[in-house]
Amino acid sequence: MSKLLDLQFLAGHAHYLLFIVLMMTGLFIVVDKTNLVKKIVGLNIFQVSVFMFYVSIGKVKGGTAPIFPMDDKYHVDTAAMAGQVYSNPLPHVLILTAIVVGIATTSLGLALIVRIRESFDTIDEEDILAIEQDMTREDNKKHGNAMGGLA
């Protein structure tokens, strides 16, 4: 932990610390807030900060975006590439697809929220829990003995 007091070290790791602060803000929304739409927004914040963390690993100091120069016959100009440093394109590829998959799964979650609203008439987690407890109590009153004990 004494490393955290070293200025040189801190300059190289400040990004990571801020990414973690962002991630934890997202996690806090997911854990603390009871509104389901807000939970999804929090999940998105968490997701995007993980993406930024992942992409930052591929960054090279003094590097540029991994798009090569072209010559006039539309081939890659390998001569012009010499001496140029490029950032690692592999994290970009993985995150690029992850963003689109992320929005597709997010929309699945939102669709589930819409169905929950139609069944329970609320999207608040604590309300849903209370309604479900009431339902269980009703069931126990009606069928508890026939089922051989309380549910």
């Binding site: 975006a65 798009i67 690029l96 697809t97 689109v100 597709a104 939102l110 669709a111 819409v114």
Partner: protein, 147 residues
């Protein structure tokens, strides 16, 4: 449908064509500049979504009918997987695009990238528009004043 917002309706009419054109540029220029099937699919879907928001769901469904969206969903993945199966039939590995032009492998790679990016773009467009239709097709539960 928003009847009273004249400016929105005129601007949307101009924008939709431009957005579609930009989506096609991003789709087919993805080998040379930032872009590709995923981005182009999303941008293409945005064109239809903005049209649906301003002119109403019924009108956008006349332009891009729901059955067509549902077919496109699957068609994109089929184009992608079909490229792989074609290369297998030609005696190469699955998704080895050298099979598309055995004499000039780099040209085969270019064709392969173009085709599979097109497949990805078709699927993403279909999915995004289908999701928008599914959400917008339900009766809203809150009135305009509640926002």
């Amino acid at each position: 449908m928003i009847y009273h917002h004249l400016i929105l309706r005129v601007v949307t009419k101009v924008l939709v064509g431009t957005i579609v054109l930009f989506a096609l540029y991003v789709q087919f220029h993805g080998d040379f500049s930032p872009g590709g099937g995923f981005q182009a699919g999303v941008i293409m879907a945005v064109a239809f979504i903005i049209y649906g928001i301003v002119f109403g769901l019924r009108n956008v469904k006349r332009v891009f009918p729901e059955w067509l969206v549902h077919k496109l969903l699957a068609l994109g993945v089929l184009i992608y997987a079909g490229t792989g199966i074609y290369s297998m039939f030609m005696g190469y590995d699955f998704l080895d695009y050298d099979a598309l032009s055995p004499a000039y492998p780099t040209i085969g790679q270019h064709w392969g990238l173009l085709i599979i990016e097109f497949g990805v773009g078709v699927t993403v467009t279909g999915v995004m528009v289908a999701i928008y239709y599914a959400f917008a097709g339900r009766p809203p539960s809150i009135s305009n004043e509640d926002w």
